[in-house]
């Protein structure tokens, strides 16, 4: 304690104490000199002898200082000041290092910001840690969602949750006498679904338990935006009767400003008002809950699984399905730990490492000029730890400067990403911005970067001994063989990683192109999609839906100004309907899941509207009316997968919806081969079956229209309105947009890897350039000797190129092995391309060699132009 106080005082009284030390030592030296003089030495000799007896004045002062104040603080301040001076003096060196690092930090910061914003930032709800999503093992039909009946069992039997709520998201049409009908994102949820979030209406009240029972009066809570924009903030909105999907309903509350749970939602209704909810016990729902106090997710998961295993009324597949409890956020965004995110993270970390190794070799190369200074400092009493710290302060400062630049770079990338992904519909709490926690993460990243790239050169440099540097060479600027070997190893590593990244980037770009080309067969610019959702009250069953859609299609098709129109259950590039497949009369195997195919229900003229001719066979509408409803088309991938060598035309395909227990098996006769058209989102072309729309009408359908929207948008709206005034048309969007959104995953991976690969090759080229350039300046004297002895200029240039080629070929060899290994890991994400074909590897090898030679040839040529005389004379 006393020591601390004294040290603190030292910190304040630094100058006067320093003077005191000087005085004291001087007086000691005087005493000694006097003593020696008394022994008969001359005054000058006495002084010298006094110093000898005293020991190194400066070393002792330094030791003394270490005991005073808080050396860590004072010296850090000192080191920082010194580092700034040095960086200002070596402006170019600093700039080169900072820019190289900023690329790595920028790439990593982009990824960290995106992942943090999407997965790690807390939710804007009270005690949001206890909010969870309850999901099941993913199945093709239910996804991660849970059948409603199971949710109800859980809700009544489970004790682990304070609240357990089910949600179904679906657009809701809001209409009233004065303002027409608009569509909003809506959510049907358990009566306590909002209370679960600890959110309350700002106006009116929350749902009552009795409002979530069959036959209850129809109510709704609306969002702040609906209230202010549609109803002019009229407080009388509470109690007002409106039409929701054509039915009368009372608005009972308005949610707070900004609240849009979960995704841009503006209308909330009790789950019981979801159409036909009582008849569809197998309806998958999103289950969210708030864990009871003191209950862990694992306990709750075990309890739910135990309840599930006792249910005798649910299908076996559901009873044995694994229950998984995840944080609420992941219900909407998926987990952080997915192959794609991990792969992207790995890519940016690799760039950061390359940038670090690049910065490290720059530091090592500079060590030549620093070694004299460092030896001097060491002679003046700086310990090795002190030297290392001084060097680390420098590298951390550079990393922090690079961090500022990197954040600027990251801001651009994050912005571009946010724009891209906003189309995909993120939860309303996701925003890509900085906050203190994120800033702390990034700062820590920069400091870690500074230490990472600085520590090796610092250890290396601090080892230089006085004698070695001041005596050994007698002239300035020799890099020790040790640090040169280190730079070479790092450069070879950079080259190897560059090869791996280039190969991965090329595979992803080719894969992304395959998907793009697959979509480009369609004339995307003139095709549009309208989506319609029929409310179940007015259109309860297949017949009513069929009648409506048939009437609509006929009316729109005959309207003037439209080139072509067709119905489809799902738009192309965005279909989500899968079924199990059995061919002909093959018995359905028990237990194991069936191979899946994409299923799209299409109306007449579907492929004409898309502008694609059938490969062969007949169109469904050409089949005679009696068997039309049981005819289907399959694409070539389906034929290859399920029919093998046999001609699929004439064979029968049985489609089985495994997700819905007891769903009828549908049998279709294949009448033709459909043209290639990608249906599945975020995936390449897959097997697909096209069945007649009339055989399977649904509540929702897309109208695919060819033409210019200004001509037909009004026509379509008018025809729909004539058929049903309460039905809004939504999602007028071009198929170009649907295709674009559906290729997100390909675009993001290929873009990120391309950027990363370009950064890697640029850094490698820079590294090669500077290493060769340094090597030429180191060997200036040698060049002079060689030339004086008759070496040709070309021989001198070759001297350096040969060295570069050796490094490049080792880097390439390691990189090729890495690329082939990475190819195996990557293959699963690729569509119809091989990860690392030999030809591509050869091309990459050629490209890297070329870049390397160009980078090395500049300094090598400069070396060969040296005037031998001045080269020899140079110090």
């Amino acid at each position: 304690m006393r020591t601390w106080l004294s040290r603190l005082l030292d910190l304040v009284l630094r100058r006067s104490r320093e003077r005191r030390l000087d005085d004291e030592m001087q007086s000691h030296l005087d005493f000694l000199a006097e003593e020696f003089a008394a022994k008969g030495m001359s005054p000058a000799d006495a002084k010298l002898a006094a110093r000898k007896a005293f020991g190194g004045v400066d070393q002792i002062k330094e030791k003394y200082r270490d005991r005073r104040g808080f050396p860590a603080v004072t010296e850090l301040a000192q080191d920082t000041r010194y580092a700034f001076r040095l960086m200002a003096r070596e402006r170019w060196f600093t700039a080169a290092t900072v820019i190289a690092l900023s690329l790595g930090i920028g790439a990593t910061t982009t990824m960290v910001t995106i992942l943090y914003s999407m997965n790690l930032r807390g939710l804007p709800f009270h005690e949001s840690e206890s909010l969870v999503g309850v999901t099941g093992e993913r199945t093709p039909s239910q996804g991660p969602q849970i059948p409603l009946s199971i949710f109800e069992h859980w809700r009544s039997a489970s004790r682990s949750f304070e609240v357990l709520s089910a949600e179904i998201g679906q657009p809701i049409n809001l209409g009233d006498e004065t303002r027409g009908t608009d569509q909003f994102a809506g959510v049907y949820l358990s009566f306590d679904g909002l209370a679960l979030l600890r959110e309350r209406p700002v106006l009116g009240r929350d749902f009552l338990p009795e409002e979530d029972r069959t036959g209850a009066a129809s109510v709704a809570i609306v969002g702040y935006r609906v209230w202010t924009e549609r109803y002019g903030s009229d407080p009388a909105i509470v109690g007002r009767t409106v039409r929701l999907n054509g039915e009368a309903a009372t608005i009972i509350g308005v949610m707070p400003e900004g609240f849009a749970y979960p995704v841009d939602t503006q209308i909330w209704r009790p789950l019981s008002s979801f159409p036909n909810i009582q008849q569809t016990a197998q309806r998958p729902v999103q289950v969210v809950g708030r864990l009871a106090r003191g209950v862990s997710a694992e306990q709750a998961q075990a309890e739910l699984a135990a309840i599930l295993s006792t249910l005798t009324t649910v299908p076996d597949a559901d009873r044995t399905r694994r229950t998984i409890i995840i944080p609420l956020n992941e219900t909407y965004l998926g987990t952080l730990f997915q192959p794609v995110t991990m792969m992207l993270m790995a890519a940016v970390v690799v760039v950061l490492l390359i940038a670090c190794s690049h910065a490290a070799s720059l530091l090592l190369a500079r060590s030549a000029t620093r070694s004299r200074e460092l030896s001097m400092r060491s002679a003046l009493g700086a310990g090795r730890a002190r030297l290392v710290r001084q060097l680390l302060v420098e590298s951390v400062l550079m990393a922090l400067m690079a961090g500022v630049l990197g954040v600027a770079i990251a801001a651009l990338f994050v912005d571009a990403f946010a724009r891209e992904i906003s189309l995909a519909g993120l939860p309303y709490w996701t925003h890509f911005s900085f906050d203190p926690a994120l800033t702390a993460i990034i700062t820590a990243l920069c400091i870690a970067t500074g230490i990472t790239f600085g520590v090796l050169p610092a250890m290396q440099q601090s080892r230089t001994s006085l004698a070695e540097v001041l005596n050994q060479f007698g002239r300035s600027g020799m890099v020790s063989p040790r640090s040169k070997r280190l730079s070479t190893i790092m450069l070879v590593g950079e080259l190897a990683i560059t090869v791996v990244l280039l190969s991965a980037a090329s595979a992803l770009v080719r894969s992304s192109n395959v998907v793009y080309e697959a979509d480009a067969v369609v004339d995307l610019d003139n095709l549009w999609e309208f989506r319609l959702a029929l409310p179940a009250v007015t259109y309860p069953a297949g017949d009513a839906q069929r009648t409506f859609f048939t009437a609509l299609e006929e009316r729109v098709a005959s309207a003037p100004g439209l080139e072509s129109v067709a119905l489809a259950s799902q738009p192309p590039f965005n279909s989500r309907d899968y079924r199990g497949v059995v061919m002909d009369s093959t018995p359905v195997p028990d237990g194991s899941p069936l191979p899946q195919t994409q299923v799209v229900a299409i109306g007449p003229r579907y492929f004409e509207t898309m502008g694609l001719p059938l490969v062969r066979g007949s169109r469904i509408e050409e089949v005679d009316a009696a068997s039309r409803a049981t005819s289907a088309l399959v694409n070539e991938r389906f034929a290859a997968r399920f029919s093998g060598d046999a001609d699929p035309i004439g064979r029968e395909v049985v489609l089985i919806n495994e997700r819905v227990a007891g769903a009828p098996r549908q049998r279709f006769r294949i009448v033709g081969i459909a043209p290639p058209l990608r249906q599945q989102q975020q995936n390449g072309p897959n097997p697909a079956v096209y069945i007649p729309f009339l055989s399977q009408p649904g509540a929702t359908a897309s109208l695919i229209v060819r033409g210019k929207p200004q001509q037909f948008a009004a026509i379509v709206r008018e025809e729909v309105r004539r058929l049903d005034p309460d039905l809004p048309v939504f999602n007028l969007r071009s198929l170009a947009l649907v295709s674009y959104m559906s290729r997100f995953i390909f675009r993001i991976t290929s873009t990120v890897f391309s950027i990363v690969a370009v950064m890697a090759i640029a850094l490698s080229a820079l590294g090669l350039y500077s290493l060769t350039a340094y090597s030429t300046t180191q060997r200036t004297h040698e060049i002079g000797v060689r030339m004086a002895l008759g070496a040709q200029r070309s021989q001198v240039a070759w001297l350096f190129l040969r060295q570069t080629l050796r490094q490049v070929s080792i880097g390439l060899a390691i990189g090729m092995i890495g690329a082939i290994a990475a190819g195996f890991a990557l293959q699963g994400l690729l569509v119809d391309v091989t990860a690392s074909p030999p030809l591509m590897l050869a091309a990459i090898a050629g490209f890297v060699t070329l870049v390397a030679l160009v980078a090395a040839v500049v300094p090598a040529r400069r070396a060969s132009r040296l005037d031998p005389v001045s080269a020899l004379r140079r110090d």
């Binding site: 020591t3 000691h28 002792i60």
Partner: protein
């Protein structure tokens, strides 16, 4: 083993013992230790200054400017009451340690 280094940790004890006789300046302390050692110790006189600072920070000695016998300005160090207690304790402990080591070496 004529000119041995100062055993680790004993410099403090030597300085305290020297000061227990009376106030002394840095040079005086160094001189006194050298005299007692009779040339058996290699002492860089400067090294006592970090030790003096350490002792002062612990409150065992205090210092102030004064004038030496030959009328030279010098900084004088004085042992404090806690310093004396510490010295007594350390002396005992040192004696015990030496005794143990001696016995151990004698058992051969």
């Amino acid at each position: 083993m004529s000119n041995s280094e100062i055993p680790y940790g004993t410099l403090d004890l030597m300085v305290l013992k020297t000061l227990a006789v009376g106030p002394q300046h840095g040079y005086g302390i160094a001189r006194r230790i050298e005299q007692v050692a009779e040339g058996a110790l290699a002492l860089n006189q400067g090294t006592i200054y970090p030790a003096l600072l350490r002792l002062e920070q612990k409150g065992w000695i205090k210092s102030g400017w004064g004038t030496s016998d030959n009328n030279r300005r010098a900084r004088f160090y004085t042992i404090t009451a806690t310093g004396r207690r510490h010295l007594a304790a350390e002396t005992d402990s040192w004696a015990r340690t030496v005794a143990i080591v001696n016995r151990l070496l004698a058992t051969e």
